[in-house]
């Protein structure tokens, strides 16, 4: 069964509901997934329209009036979230159709095709057919739905209302949520994040088409477990890959992974070789982990373009410098010796003799207030350098006693941003993992100072190197 082709403008209403009804809300005010989680998420993100709750007996939950059924809501409803048991979904759909104004039914409800039971798969098909005939589109079943900051829609508590350029299409609700959770503190901001689960009606190809045309989306990311409608998906990927940086994580690569994918979203994982070929052909970057997806979202939002592979590594710690050079080389980047004129300029601002200013740079003057920018400046001017990678950490033995870490964070991020601005070369930062709450608080603050000033941050030198290398690879695919 192939869903009817859809044009992008037609999908616009999916992302801009004016009112939402939620069926299957527990009367417990807190805790757990399901209906009440969506209520909390929408309240926290500040959904602007009315939220109607459907509950057989409760008068109100979390301050919102409850109605025994959709029919009892005396106002128009255009978006319905279902958290009821699968066996009540046909009735809920009937109610949606009768209501007349409902345009989207988001089935958080699971227990359909992914169970592997024929009767359940049949029920899913029947629901989709009936909905499509009535002009109601289905998101799901078995998914978390939408996170659209500009529309103040959220799928999980704590998601920021701040919008941005990154779109995401995910077959897994948890991975959509985890993407947002890990990408947000690194400054990634989203246009539309879509978890579509089994994709019984709307599916990956529809959303790729939409995001390719969506003016709010500049970068497209995706997590896919299986391939539905191969030719249509291929066409959508080619289209997306042509117009925007597009990054895809395809899981279920292995036998065990495929089995898990089938249980999870009823997906047939398909051959990775074929998918890989398709991506290359489409100019789409295929990555290996959710961390990679987050790193590439950061890279495409902040770095965007890299002139070449020649990186200058700057940061404290001899061993770290040696390993950084190895990491960059392993990622296919270069760590060229700085030219004599650059070394001379660096020698003027460096206490130590000679050797730690060749690249990698590791000097103690760098840790002094004026030394930091004075060290980065000449590197920004260096002819044989395409980007600067600064690495640091918080809570490290002595550092934590070296003055106010928040001031350090502000001062350094300002310096990094000025060098990026003046040199026209990307300056990226690797912040090694923090081990204590106090250090993490300092690191998070520095990270925010960096991204607010347009600086990309990564949780390790190896990940920064990998991301820059993949950016170059993507650029080459576009040529």
């Amino acid at each position: 069964m192939t869903a009817p082709a859809i044009t992008a403008p037609e999908l616009e209403y999916v992302f801009q509901p004016r009112s939402i009804a939620i069926a299957g809300v527990s009367a417990k005010e807190h805790g757990g997934f399901g209906g009440i989680g969506f209520v909390q998420s929408l309240q926290e993100v500040g959904f602007r329209g009315p939220i109607y709750l459907i509950h057989p007996t409760a008068p109100a939950i979390r301050g919102l009036k409850c109605y025994p059924s959709l029919a009892d809501i005396p106002w128009d409803v255009d978006y319905v979230i279902s958290s009821v048991n699968a066996r009540f979904v046909p009735q809920l759909l009937e109610d949606c159709i009768k209501k007349g104004t409902v345009r989207v039914l988001h089935l958080f409800t699971a227990g359909f095709t992914e169970t592997g039971e024929a009767g359940r798969a049949e029920m899913e098909r029947a629901v989709v057919t009936q909905a499509q005939e009535a002009g109601i589109r289905i998101i799901g079943p078995n998914c978390m739905g939408l996170y659209v900051p500009a529309s103040r829609l959220a799928m999980m508590p704590g998601q920021t209302p701040e919008p941005g350029p990154v779109g995401m299409v995910s077959q897994s609700g948890m991975n959509a949520g985890e993407f947002v959770r890990y990408a947000t503190p690194r400054g990634v901001r989203c246009s539309k994040v879509i978890s579509f689960g089994n994709g019984a009606d709307l599916r990956a190809a529809d959303f790729f088409d939409y995001l390719a045309d969506d003016p709010e989306t500049k970068v497209i990311t995706a997590y896919l477990e299986g391939i539905q409608d191969g030719p249509r998906l291929a066409a959508a990927l080619r289209r997306a890959g042509r117009v925007k940086p597009t990054v895809i994580l395809k899981s279920g690569r292995t036998e065990a992974g495929s089995r898990a994918a089938s249980s999870h979203t009823a997906s047939l994982a398909g051959s990775l070789e074929i998918f890989d070929g398709l991506c290359r052909q489409a100019g789409v970057l295929r990555v290996e982990s959710l961390d990679d997806v987050v790193d590439m979202a950061v890279t495409f939002q902040f770095v965007q373009r890299l002139r070449g592979p020649r990186i200058c590594v700057v940061g404290g710690g001899g061993g770290a410098s040696v390993m950084a050079a190895d990491d960059l080389d392993a990622a296919g980047l270069e760590v060229p010796t700085l030219l004599p004129e650059t070394q001379e300029a660096l020698a003027k601002v460096t206490h130590e003799a000679g050797t730690s200013i060749r690249n990698p740079i590791d000097t103690t003057s760098m840790f002094e207030e004026k030394g930091f920018e004075a060290t980065l400046g000449p590197v920004g001017d260096a002819e044989n350098i395409d980007a600067i990678l600064y690495h640091t950490s918080f809570g490290f033995g002595f550092m934590s006693r070296m003055g106010d870490q928040r001031q350090r964070g502000e001062r350094q991020s300002e310096g990094l941003a000025r060098v990026q601005e003046q040199s026209g070369k990307p300056v990226v930062v690797a912040i090694r993992p923090s081990l204590t709450p106090e250090a993490l608080d300092q690191a998070n603050y520095f990270q925010e100072q960096c991204y607010r000033r347009g600086i990309a941050t990564y949780p390790s030198i190896a990940r920064a190197a990998n991301a820059l290398s993949r950016l170059l690879e993507w650029q080459q695919m576009q040529d």
Copy 2:
């Protein structure tokens, strides 16, 4: 120049100083590397003997009496730490020789061979020759020295006095410190950690020989940048690899890395191919990053032995399960379908129908108080499973609202330990990175509860998988 061969018992005194003098201590009480850092480190770890400070004018620093010179100290001193400028080292060595009781001179002082200047290298050689003739052994120059919890010696502030089975030999002081910093919160405890820098006198081979014989050391780890005395090092590695699990990170693999290594510890990095062959021959595990070294220290301390590659993955999140299966497969492990009898046992404690109990296991009942152990139990009994990998995270949207996270940590760690105990199979835990100070606090608490009960923890599923796979590889090398 080859250092005289040394037998292990002879080195014992190096690790058990009775009194320490520190030369080159800044009168500032806080902050920075150097002499004052060692004072603080030794005070924090609770060094039991006297600490004498050498300072030209200050009467006392951090509550410790200062003396203008080593000669002015009216008591025996057997261990001297030098933080003076390199040009004062010959005089300090003269003073040590005159003192008559000094047996070890730890040169934190840098500025010797690693500068690339001939005169500096000559000075280093002269110092070593003179010291050796006087029976004084040198650690360094250009290094952080020793962390020996049982002797209450520390090289950086905040290092725990709790001793344990893991030894470490590191050419880089920062990497020695970073190893301890990252391994300690995961339960790794150390016997002896040695940062030896340029290794002008005592060097890697000496310390490998010592650790191979040391009854307090059960696992040997190392970070090397260069090869000194190839044949002797090879012999020492063969010996260490024969008697104890031995893990080595060799950096300076690349041209840029080699250049950095030469600046850092005057090392000639040498060919990785040759080194790799040597490791294989010696039954030594060569790893790729400092993270790997930490992960293998955790694995050898807590897991020790794995019967085979068949892993059962347990944890929440469909997408995470699919990716976990892929990660394990990529690491060369297996995620076999659970046998019918195991699935039947699991079905009894699971609300949902069928599919998420095949492996990976992903059920909601697992998050309930009794469901957790009831789910793990049958997996522990499963014939076709060699180890259990439980994955979790803290601060995740809904979870953070699901009751007291400390109680959850205690309850789950107890359950995990019981299953490990009763099944005789390793149970390991992957805790995904925490993003907020609050979540990190909860995760750290859970991590500690786990390792206190003998459970290995890792910061990602991929790293846990890699570590278990390397353990199997090491076991095969021993056969």
